[in-house]
């Protein structure tokens, strides 16, 4: 077990290191010139100002020196300074990450709560109307463009029916609670602001449903397929021959064995949610990392883009590591391969 964990950890560290190199190369090899985007037209025409600007941000050093500086900085937790906000990128990320984590976690829980039972029931009653419904729901979920779904939801439930609040994390009439954890749903009750808490909950409904749509489809399909696979095994036939209740066979024999692929997919889907919020956050004016990434990309704020992409890569590697480890726990055969 220990050897398995160590080897997985070493691979993960190597991946992160390589990821830094890839990000660095992309940011530096591309033809777009951040200097010209950042400086106004007048300043961009003045060679002295351009040179001074380049020098200030270290853009005049050779490539490998800059990578060395970048790596040394990373080891000290320094992701550089955002060109647009003029603040350390790590501070920006720390400020925006909680909103994203909050939104994706709620969306993920929604997708699991709906997708798991739907997948199980679809497999149990194959070819029934509920199976067809599950298939339709998952295909529509996977096929609908997030940004369009967000528009429709806002137009119908906010613009037309007025049931849901508009974009944003809390309404304009609410005071944000003092930042303790950065999570609105935790900070508001801590400060005793229950009005703000309920307002935040209502603001979460639409974006989390939009975000959950495609994940719901994935989870339903995987659960159904895994359940069918598991139901076709001999041990199910044995359980049936023993005369066990159908409910017991499903819940105690089939489902636990069907959960393996769902765990793998669930981990990856969660990582995807954390990073797939760019479109949803942009439309719902959600003050999270997704919107920050988009805003940085548009103005070529490379320190910020590099910082976010690196964070995201680290999240992916860590989630993959956790999936591998939980897999080893759920299925001991994995380690002996």
């Amino acid at each position: 077990m220990l050897r398995y964990i160590t080897s997985r950890l070493l691979i993960a560290v190597a991946m992160v290191l390589l990821a830094t190199l890839v990000i660095f190369l992309i940011a530096n090899m591309v033809p777009g010139d951040p200097v010209l985007t950042q400086l106004g037209d007048i300043a961009a025409n003045n060679p002295a100002m351009v040179a001074a600007y380049r020098h200030k941000w270290g853009l005049d050093l050779p490539l490998w020196d800059r990578y060395g500086i970048f790596l040394t900085g990373l080891l000290h937790g320094d992701l550089g300074i955002s060109i647009s906000s003029q603040r350390p990128v790590l501070e920006d990320i720390a400020q925006y990450a909680p909103a994203t984590v909050e939104l994706s976690t709620v969306a993920f829980v929604l997708a699991l709560l709906a997708g798991l039972p739907l997948g199980v029931v679809a497999a149990m009653r194959r070819d029934s109307w509920i199976d067809h419904l599950a298939r339709a729901v998952s295909l529509i979920g996977v096929s609908s463009p997030t940004f369009w779904l967000a528009f429709i939801m806002l137009a119908v439930f906010y613009g037309w029916l007025g049931w849901a609040p508009g974009p944003g994390q809390i309404g304009a009439d609410q005071f944000p609670p003092p930042v303790v954890t950065g999570f609105m749903l935790i900070d508001a009750p801590l400060a005793g602001q229950w009005d703000t808490f309920w307002d935040a909950v209502r603001h979460l409904i639409l974006p989390s449903i939009v975000l959950a749509a495609s994940t719901l489809g994935l989870i339903t399909r995987t659960t159904r397929a895994a359940m069918l696979e598991s139901l076709a095994q001999d041990y199910i036939r044995v359980a049936r021959a023993k005369g066990l209740l159908r409910r017991v066979i499903m819940m105690r024999h089939a489902l636990p064995n069907a959960l393996l692929p769902v765990v793998t997919l669930g981990g990856l889907a969660y990582a995807q949610l954390l990073t797939g919020t760019v479109l949803t956050e942009t439309i719902f004016s959600w003050p999270g990392l997704g919107r920050y990434t988009f805003q940085s990309a548009v103005i070529l704020d490379f320190p910020a883009i590099m910082g976010v992409t690196l964070m995201v890569a680290i999240v992916y590697v860590v989630v993959n590591l956790l999936v591998d480890l939980s897999y080893a726990m759920l299925d001991p055969r994995v380690m002996h391969k």
């Binding site: 295909l139 940004f147 760019v278």
Partner: protein
């Protein structure tokens, strides 16, 4: 022959096939519907100038934001352009980009994966670690960074998408070739004296092509979705090119003029669902194991 006789003949002929047709419909009905939808969109893209009498980019400020009517089936947008016309022309961009990304990215990834699996040793290890590395980056964020860096425009966005597109094909192709290379017919081909290139391209690839075709089909929808998303963010086509993602973006503030953003979105939804239906059906058809279940 009278109508009654014909009806009896038809009923007789249909007795057996009717049940078979029902079964076929249940199994492949969705896939067939998906294929029809895709075909219709392809036709719309090809015949766009003959389908509509408007031009996609002609501005008519006097007739802006007109509600859907007989003159403008899907209304007009903020600049008075006919939404129906722009949706039809938009199919050209979306389909072309989808096919370009998936076919080029897929061919590159497949070749890399197949060669890696066949070569084994260090080359395989290096290639597969490279694909693992690419999987660390979520496609849309990396594509966004690259698209932003290269500059806005359809061609640059396609390049950005290609950079992130090939790894899944490399991974699938490798696992397929590994599954095939230990089979007896490969050993037989080797014994007969065929070279590695011939074995890979003429023997292994045709036998392993099924799952790749499924992935290509499902992925076409996916590529169209990602491109529309990038366009929605302003990182895709240059205005005023008619494109579905950027049309939704232009109409997103116009909640009471819902038609401006709704119809291009429906276009994306139908075309992507079409590819997903066909891909789903192909998977059932190619995998007898799944079919039996």
């Amino acid at each position: 022959m009278s109508g009654v006789q014909l009806a009896i003949l038809a009923a007789e002929a249909a007795a057996g096939p009717a049940a078979r047709r029902r079964r076929w419909l249940r199994r492949y009905g969705l896939a067939a519907a998906g294929a029809v939808v895709i075909l219709l969109w392809a036709l719309a893209a090809l015949l766009a100038p003959w389908i509509t009498r408007y031009s996609p980019n002609v501005v008519n400020v006097a007739g802006r934001l007109a509600t859907p009517s007989t003159a403008h089936w899907l209304g007009t947008d903020e600049l008075g352009r006919d939404v129906f016309t722009r949706v039809i022309y938009g199919a050209r961009t979306s389909l072309a980009v989808g096919f370009a990304v998936v076919l080029i990215g897929g061919a590159f990834g497949t070749l890399l994966g197949a060669v890696a699996a066949y070569a084994r040793g260090f080359a395989e290890e290096a290639l597969m670690r490279a694909t693992d590395l690419m999987f660390c980056f979520p496609p849309i964020i990396l594509a966004m960074a690259i698209a932003a860096a290269l500059g806005i425009g359809t061609r640059n966005t396609v390049i950005a998408m290609l950079v992130v597109w090939w790894p899944k094909f490399a991974r699938l192709a490798r696992s397929l070739v590994i599954g095939q290379r230990s089979l007896e017919y490969v050993a037989a081909a080797r014994t007969v004296g065929f070279g590695p290139v011939h074995i890979l391209l003429r023997q292994i690839v045709p036998n392993a092509v099924g799952p790749l075709v499924v992935l290509v089909t499902l992925d076409l929808g996916n590529a169209i979705l990602v491109f529309a998303g990038l366009s929605f963010l302003g990182l895709g086509v240059i205005p005023p090119t008619p494109e579905w993602g950027s049309m939704v973006s232009e109409g997103r503030e116009l909640v009471s003029q819902w038609w401006v953003a709704t119809f291009p979105g429906l276009a994306i939804l139908t075309v992507v669902m079409g590819f997903n239906f066909v891909g789903d059906g192909l998977r059932d058809w190619l995998d007898p194991h799944a079919r039996r279940r």
